[in-house]
């Protein structure tokens, strides 16, 4: 990326930040900009100080197979979008067309339906990697193997790549 392009992006970005900040501080409707700052810092603290450590703990301690981890990623996303509606169900200020659906049921339904393909996927892997030739104890199934296939990103050094177990037959 050329120096000029980077300089333009940097200056443009700073200009947008400056414009947004000025607007935030001078908007006549926003009487308490500190309230916005408190909520923004709170959001970062809650996300980085509570949510991500929780995800890492759950991922490291409970969810070893990457199919389960994958489903947990989907479940977390669906829950982030659905939970406010579940918590808010019924509060519509007398407007029956706001939040008109059974959100608790639908949330559980989506979790269950997305668990279906994940389960099938795990079973298919287990079937494909099943030990053959009458050695049921040999070759551990890939999906459930401890430490196998933690989903990518962060610290690859901590993980072993998922290798297919050698065919024992």
């Amino acid at each position: 990326m050329s120096r000029w392009l980077r300089a333009v992006l940097l200056l443009g970005g700073l200009a947008l930040i400056g414009y947004g900040l000025a607007g935030l501080l001078t908007d006549s409707y926003i009487t308490d900009p500190w309230g916005v700052l408190v909520w923004a810092v709170g959001a970062v603290l809650l996300h980085d100080g509570f949510w991500v450590p929780l995800v890492c703990l759950v991922g490291a301690a409970l969810a070893r197979g990457w199919v389960l981890r994958g489903w947990l990623v989907v479940a977390a996303a669906v829950s982030a979008v659905a939970l406010p509606a579940v918590l808010r169900d019924g509060e519509n200020h007398g407007n029956a067309s706001v939040l008109p659906l059974p959100y608790l049921r639908n949330w559980l339904l989506v979790l269950a339906v997305t668990a279906g393909p994940a389960l099938l996927f795990a079973l298919a892997r287990r079937w494909r990697h099943r030990p053959r030739g009458g050695h049921p104890a040999g070759g551990r199934p890939g999906a459930g193997r401890p430490g196998g296939g933690r989903p990518g990103g962060g610290r690859p050094g901590l993980r072993r790549p998922t290798k297919r177990p050698a065919d024992p037959s």
Binding site: G20, D32, W39, G70, G152, G154
Partner: protein, 348 residues
């Protein structure tokens, strides 16, 4: 890196569609004469995209922040002035992105637990987030350029993780986009609205009870002010030439629903008032208070043959919640400006 590209794209879509929405809903004076009433579904598409890409950004942001979490603890925390500024920029980006997604999601539910006004704060934080993104791209420019074309290292874990995030984006989109995309309506399980649920099969943003317009005065008359002012009773309005149009109600909260509206062309009413060519319109509602009790309609919309003072929807007389006795319906216009319970039109 791949996550960042998609997240950056989602943020840019949100920012641009947000600017369009702001321009249509609250235009500065210099822009008003340039607003266009076409394409008919313009606002429906841009605002639908705004909320769809905002919701898709929820798993993308979560995944992106998870992958870079170890970097939060890099040592030493600050190497030099440029590094300090870069990290400050990332803080601005992360904090404003979290705020935008959180406040935007809750706004679709009409839930406001925070002490600041939603619309203005969401608007200004959008500038900060986009500025933060540009600074971040500038800081990481060489890295982004290096990875743009290079084939991704095919680590199975990485593939699995990206597949999971893709599935998460798909699940969130499929179960919410039905609030605006017609063919996904049956999958609309988690969105705050269903386009076919509401009085007369159409959602409502502000009910007659909330606006204090449940009962309309028996002697209601439409007042049209202009060079030749006049008044019309509801019966007289029904006797004027009626037109039927298929137009969407498209809300800033990301839902939209199409309906068949029947009523009198606003252009006809203006001609009858002797309005000179190029006249705009000021519309006043019966409601006692509310930020959109009085709205302005640029000339481009007022002369559009699709713009009606509607008296009926889907063949029925308007329900109180849909603006009985008469409401404005115009193409490519945010829902809050489709003024309900109309009392007066003024040529301006």
């Amino acid at each position: 890196m791949v996550l960042g590209r998609w997240l950056g794209a989602a943020l840019l879509v949100c920012f641009l569609t947000g600017l369009i929405s702001h321009a249509l809903q609250d235009p500065p004076d210099w822009l008003t004469p340039h607003l266009q009433s076409r394409p008919v579904n313009g606002y429906r598409v841009t605002q639908g995209l705004h909320v769809i890409s905002g919701l898709a950004a929820v798993p993308l942001l979560g995944a992106k922040l998870w992958t870079v979490y170890p970097r939060l603890f890099e040592w030493p925390p600050v190497r030099n002035a440029a590094h300090a500024l870069e990290r400050l920029g990332i803080f601005v980006l992360v904090a404003t992105m979290l705020m935008e997604l959180f406040t935007g999601l809750l706004d679709t539910l009409q839930w406001y637990p925070w002490p600041f006004p939603f619309r203005q704060t969401h608007f200004w934080l959008g500038w900060l987030a986009t500025g933060g993104l540009l600074v971040h791209v500038a800081a990481k420019g060489p890295l982004i350029a290096r990875h743009w074309r290079r084939p991704a290292a095919g680590l199975p874990q990485r593939r699995a993780f990206l597949a999971a995030v893709t599935a998460a984006v798909g699940a969130v989109t499929l179960t919410t986009a039905g609030q605006t995309v017609p063919f996904l309506r049956r999958l609309d399980l988690l969105a705050a609205r269903r386009p076919d649920i509401g009085p007369q099969g159409l959602p409502v943003n502000r009910t007659a009870a909330q606006a204090g317009t449940v009962t309309v005065p028996a002697d209601w008359q439409l007042r049209v002010d202009g060079p030749q002012p006049y008044q019309l009773s509801l019966a007289e309005l029904h006797q004027l030439p009626q037109y039927e149009v298929e137009l969407p109600i498209a809300c800033v909260e990301g839902w939209s629903a199409s309906a068949r509206w029947t009523g009198v062309r606003v252009a006809d009413l203006l001609v009858r008032a002797g309005a000179p060519a190029g006249s705009g319109l000021r519309v006043t509602s019966l409601e006692v208070e509310g930020p959109y009790r009085v709205t302005q309609m640029p000339a481009e919309y007022a002369v559009d043959p699709l713009t009606l003072l509607a008296l009926r929807v889907n063949g029925e007389v308007l329900a109180a919640d849909h603006g009985f006795p008469a409401r404005i319906i115009a193409p490519n216009r945010p829902g809050v400006l489709q003024t309900k319970w109309v009392a007066r039109l003024e040529v301006i």
